[in-house]
Amino acid sequence: MRQTIVRSVNDLPTYGFGSQSGPWWGAMAFIALEGMGFAVAIAAYLYLYAVNPKWPISSAPPDLWPGTLETAIFLLSVIPNELTNRVAHRLDLRGVRIGLIVMSVIGVGLLVVRGFSFAHLNTRWDLDAYGSVVWFVLGLHTTHLATDVVDTIVLTILMFTRHATARRFSDVTDNAFYWNFVVIAWLPLYLLLDWIPRL
């Protein structure tokens, strides 16, 4: 087939930020499917809550402090996360390195607190359906959190190597964008796990 050149893309950049990058849309799609996963898990919890006359079935509600502490850290983490996002947009390598280290430390800290959350659920997964579903919901979010923390740590190390090229800054902003989803996904789970059993 004969080709007629009608347009030049010579001047286009080789990477973009946010909705101009492919990986950002990939992150959006993963957010959609993971968000759906959380929605279904919440629905399963509420279904079991609705069919059981007593909730929790045979144990005390979780202790409030670990979940509340986590929620506070999650909400505050939005600030360094946004700062990291901004320095990445400015292609400021030093700022990005600092921001990523801070975010990695916050992530690891949250995983430690998460350990306390499990320990203070006051039930076991094999005790009854209540225990099963709270362990499941918290486990699901822990997998989600741990994955993102490992990803952040790897990206942090990457930004200290020769691979810290311009396009990686776009990856950093996508990582920051995704973290916001990790935070937002936690909030309904906090209400679900810590407050529904107290209704």
């Binding site: 087939m1 080709q3 030049s8 893309v9 010579n10 080789t14 849309w25 279904v40």
Partner: protein, 639 residues
């Protein structure tokens, strides 16, 4: 608006080269390396797509053999070909194979091959994820069939209802195999869905605005969204089931506050959209075939696209109609009856659009169009029996009988397999460069059409006579012999049509007529490149100015220039207007997706046997993922 940074313009671009130099350069950049390592590491969507298609058809053959075995067993009263236990495994394997290893994957497979070509790009978005998806699908399928060969095939039906699938009633590993197969196939499907969404949103050719997207691509986009929102539900279902079985949780254990209906809700919240995950791609294929063979653009483009989207939304509001027999509140039952009838409306609109296209066009009755006509006839019948069972009183009567078996085979085979085989005849020349035999194709169609109807129509009557599903035999006094024999005869004829198809494919691969770029004089971009397409798909990215680009300006393709010829590069464009804004690198081949898939497989299979597999199975996956994403210092990585 984000800031953008342009790199200094030092590299060689395609406008510096003439056509032959350009092709040679692009082949060097995009080809799949030879040797086994190169083949295992390939990320070419066409190579992966072909593997996906072949593997899915291999599972079709396996699932088909099981169907024939069941039909032989049921061809007369009290036959002893299959033992009751084996029969349970066989019908479960048949359903699970056809749904999870054939129907969904084959639709994804065609999309993996054709969506990038139809939107005019050089590779699918996230090509390594695509390779990973294929391996996971392959390993999951082999795991299921390997288990079956060792007498550990699931025997709980394709929807694995609790409590039948709970540890108490299924103490062997059979139900675990089923649950973990689900996890494999859903991971694979979700991965492809993400790729399709991003490919369609961001990698469309310049000027392919929303109202110029080929209908098949629209269909695959809608399907990808259905996968994104439906599959998580079944993954949660299968995970909680396996947790109940392995670590003693109580999701489905009534004695400890669990609930068996929760399983049905979770399963069917996925299971009903699943039907449309199979059907919507098929309607997309039909729209392409109808336009090409009616020799005119499809009537009602906007109506069809909106119908696809409406079907997508409505498909999430129907799941409870699978549960009418569980004693739902009457209001709920009425609502789901209404929504089940409502979804017939967009499907009906599409059918009228196709009929109008054929009416107003000059139809050329080649094999692909025959399969489309067969589809319309069979699917309408399946749709009508669907509207019947949407009504609670009828559903209560025919629930779990052969009437339902007849209904869903009319919908699934009529609605998906007929268009699929039509599409195979249509696209085979593009994939292989050779035409399938038209003469064998006609035999193929008529055997399939007649065989299918003889095979499945009697099941409606058997169902009304009271024959239940999933019985391994029946006594002579029931009076079901004759119709069952008729059905089995039809089944064998139908199976023969597939043998003929396989023969046609093998024969035509060697001796088929050479196809040329555009043997059907079709209008969409996949026909603007050679058959089979070169590794880079298009030497220059097309510019689209019309909904049917190859009909708008015959023989001439407007293109863009200025892409790099030093690294794999794709053009990203804006979501609505397809205005180009970035030249983004596309990943080069890598062995890591395969290694990640192997680590994931060990994790999934290991976790059936010990919960500790979750602990020792995770680090290898993490390591493989880091290997996958760590830059290897190539131009693609460092740009």
């Amino acid at each position: 608006m984000s800031e953008l940074v342009s790199t200094p313009d030092r590299e060689l671009r395609d406008n510096d080269l003439d056509h032959s130099e350009l092709s040679a350069r692009l082949i060097g950049l995009w080809h799949t390396p030879s040797g086994w390592l190169g083949r295992l590491a390939t990320v070419d969507h066409k190579v992966v797509g072909k593997r996906y298609i072949l593997t899915a058809f291999a599972f079709l053959a396996l699932g088909g053999i099981l169907a024939v075995l069941m039909r032989l067993q049921l061809s007369g009263a009290e036959r002893k070909l299959l033992s009751p236990d084996l029969y349970n495994q066989v019908f479960t394997m048949h359903g699970s194979t056809m749904m999870f290893l054939f129907a969904v994957p084959v639709m994804k497979a065609f999309a993996v091959y054709f969506v990038p070509l139809m939107v005019g790009t050089r590779n699918i978005a996230f090509p390594r994820l695509n390779a990973f998806s294929y391996w996971i699908f392959l390993f999951g399928g082999c795991f299921l069939w390997g288990s079956f060969l060792f007498n550990a095939g699931p025997d709980i039906g394709w929807f694995a209802y609790v409590p039948l699938s709970s540890l108490q009633f299924n103490p062997s590993k059979r139900a675990d195999v089923w649950a973990q197969m689900i996890t494999f196939t859903e991971v694979a499907a979700l991965a492809v869905a993400v790729e399709i969404v991003v490919t369609v949103f961001k990698q469309r050719a310049v000027g392919m605005t929303l109202d110029r997207i080929p209908i098949y691509v629209w269909a695959m986009l809608v399907t990808a969204f259905l996968v994104l929102f439906a599959m998580p539900s079944v993954m949660i279902a299968s995970t909680t089931l396996i947790l109940d079985r392995l670590v003693n949780t109580h999701f489905y254990d009534t004695a400890s506050g669990g609930n068996v209906l929760l399983w049905q809700h979770l399963f069917w919240f996925f299971g009903h959209p699943e039907v449309y995950i199979i059907f919507i791609p098929a309607t997309g294929m039909v729209s392409m075939l109808v336009a090409t063979f009616a020799r005119r653009p499809v009537v009602g483009y906007t109506v069809i696209v909106l119908s696809l989207i409406a079907t997508g939304f409505l498909s999430f509001g129907l799941w409870v109609h699978h549960m009418f027999a569980t004693g739902l509140p009457q209001l709920g039952a009425s609502m789901f009856t209404a929504s089940s009838m409502l979804i017939a409306v967009p499907s009906g609109l599409q059918i009228f659009c196709w009929l109008a296209t054929l009416w107003d066009g000059r139809p050329v009755y080649r094999t692909p169009l025959l399969f489309v006509l067969g589809f319309i006839a069979i699917f309408v019948l399946g749709g009508l029996s669907g509207v019947m069972v949407a009504s609670v009183p009828i559903d209560m009567q025919v629930h779990d009988t052969y009437f339902v078996v007849a209904h869903f085979h009319y919908v699934l085979i009529g609605g998906a397999v007929f268009p699929l085989i039509g599409a195979l005849y249509y696209w085979f020349p593009k994939i292989t460069g050779r035409m399938l035999s038209e003469r064998l194709g006609r035999w193929n169609f008529w055997l399939a059409f007649i065989g299918f109807n003889i095979g499945f129509f009697p099941m409606h009557i058997l169902g009304l006579m009271g024959m239940p599903r999933r019985v391994y035999t029946y006594t002579p006094e029931m009076g079901w012999d004759h119709l069952n024999l008729l059905s089995s005869t039809g089944g064998v004829v139908f199976a023969t049509s597939f043998v003929l198809l396989i023969f046609n494919v093998i024969h035509s691969l060697r001796r088929g007529e050479l196809a040329g770029d555009n043997p059907w004089d079709a209008s969409t971009l996949e026909w603007a490149t050679s058959s089979p397409p070169p590794p880079y798909n298009f030497s220059r990215i097309p510019v689209v100015t019309h909904r049917d680009p190859l009909w708008a300006d015959a023989g001439n393709l407007p293109v863009v220039a200025g892409l790099s010829v030093e690294r794999r590069e794709v053009l990203l464009s804006s979501v609505a207007d397809a205005e180009p804004h970035t030249r983004e690198s596309s990943p080069e081949p890598s062995i890591w997706p395969l290694l990640t898939a192997i680590a994931t497989t060990i994790f999934f299979i290991g976790s059936i046997f010990t919960p500790w597999a979750v602990v020792w199975g995770t680090p290898p996956i993490a390591a493989a993922l880091i290997g996958w994403f760590w830059p290897s210092g190539t131009k693609e990585d460092e740009e």
